[in-house]
Amino acid sequence: MSLDMFIQQFFNAITLGSLYGLIAIGYTMVYGILRLINFAHGDILMLGAYFVFFGTTTFCLPWGLAVVVAILAASATGILIDRIAYRPLREAPRISALISAIAVSFFIESLSVVLFTGLPRPVYQPEWLTTAFQIGSIRLLPLTLLVPAISFVLVMLLLWMVYHTKPGLAMRAISKDIETTRLLGVRVDRIIALTFGIGSALAAASGIMWALRYPQINPYMGIFPGFKAFIAAVLGGIGSIQGAMLGGLILGMLEIMAVAFLPSLSGFRDAFAFIVLLLVLFYKPTGIFGEHTEEKI
């Protein structure tokens, strides 16, 4: 493989990786706080892409506005899912919420098939994002530079929020001891709603960028990115935001480079992530940034 090819693949890899990372953050934040794997998270990504699709077609919104509306709507959907499907089960055994999560995921996918039909839809791509440009002999899409850049900015904003604001302090407290945090006056349900809102907004942002890169959307498009992002979150150390991003980048790198170097493996592309999951669970279940999992008090 030539150096040019490598550089091109490198950008593809960090693009894919940061998309995984953005989704993984939602898994990791919700898990960190509720010890719940939010199976419906991947579907939020799909909804984000569809919201943009209908925003630009049915509602004739300019693309940029449609993106903003879609992210807000997806964020609200995430909060609604928590309110309806998880909050009533807060005191129940954890497995109940998990089962509820699986049910919500199936429900959203089925409902989307009914409402949106199962037909893949082509998505509008702003030209300025998808017109390749040339640096020397390297051809790049603006998208492959922009996606990692946007992701980086979003992660920095999120880290600032978590480490330097009051709701962020509450989030960090809840993740260790929800009862004590409540006792200190934190309206825990609001903070949890905020967590779902942020996670869902990031997933939707990822889904929208995903649809720019692979410009066909369907109601099941969230499933595989969802799985892989979950694996990225485990790899990075579940509960850690930095870890989720890093896990996403590693996974993206692995998938793209493995296929680039060994094209014969391209059929197994989706299997890499699961192999990584097995290895992590086997050798370091706490992941890269993971702390020793103390059971929640």
């Binding site: 302090l169 960090r172 260790k176 004590t180 945090t181 006056g185």
Partner: protein
């Protein structure tokens, strides 16, 4: 200020608190002593709204208002009403710094300048916390964690502070240090509900005391009277 009457707590088949009535007058230190498992924490946790099935009446009268029924209220509302608690086992958030633990105690407040003053006040009460300012709570010693738990409970500017076994696991010298501070906070006007297994320390500073045995109040009197009561001496003060 706080009136509990006929409080019952059930956990499944266990009847942990069986019709307890307590009265906590404003400005006093009232202590609730009793052996492990007597139901002390269950009472304090009922006041805080942490016990789902508590029955009876818990009435709190804030300085500027009429009585409020606390049963049925949520734990997160308590600090806003003026009641705070240092829970059993301190429950310091181990990964947050000393300062962040204190800030969390002031979560219900928005007067940032006054919050900084109160942090300063806590550091004056417990100078060791000032030295540990940026250290994660989990790295503190047991005594320092207890100081932090008390300081954190003060951060919401409560009218009533409830302390669940602040002496737990501490060396006698530290117990004295912490009880001196409790006395000092009280002299500055704070009402204190002190739950203790360490009867000697608690009775020495309490205005009034209740003795709890398997979910019942079996005795009540001013602290210094119980200190010399033969039955209490035999059962709780090591003869």
């Amino acid at each position: 200020m706080l009136n509990i009457s006929d409080l019952h707590v059930h956990y499944g088949g266990i009847h942990a608190v069986q019709g307890v009535s307590l009265h906590i007058p404003r400005g006093q230190i009232v202590t609730l002593i009793g052996a492990n498992g007597a139901g002390k924490s269950s009472i304090i946790r009922s006041i805080s709204g942490l016990v789902k099935g508590a029955k009876g009446s818990i009435e709190f009268t804030p300085s500027n208002g009429s009585p409020i029924q606390l049963l049925g209220k949520r734990p997160e509302d308590m600090v806003r009403l003026g009641i705070s608690m240092s829970p059993e086992g301190r429950r310091i958030l181990p990964h947050l710094t000393v300062r962040e633990n204190l800030l969390l105690g002031a979560y219900s407040r928005t007067d940032n300048a006054a919050i900084e003053e109160d942090i300063e006040r806590v550091y004056t009460l417990f100078p060791r916390l000032r030295e540990r300012h940026w250290q994660p709570g989990g790295t503190l010693s047991g005594g320092e964690q207890q100081m932090l738990a008390v300081g954190r409970a003060l951060m919401c500017r409560p009218e009533l502070i409830m302390l669940d076994e602040p002496s737990l696991g501490l060396a006698p010298l530290l117990v004295k240090e912490i009880f001196d501070i409790i006395l000092r906070i009280n002299r500055d006007g704070m009402t204190v509900l002190l739950v203790e297994q360490n009867a000697l320390a608690a009775l020495s500073i309490a205005h009034y005391a209740y003795v709890l045995e398997v979910g019942h109040v079996v005795m009540e009197a001013p602290g210094h009277e119980l200190l010399t009561d033969p039955k209490v001496k035999a059962a709780y003060l090591g003869g």
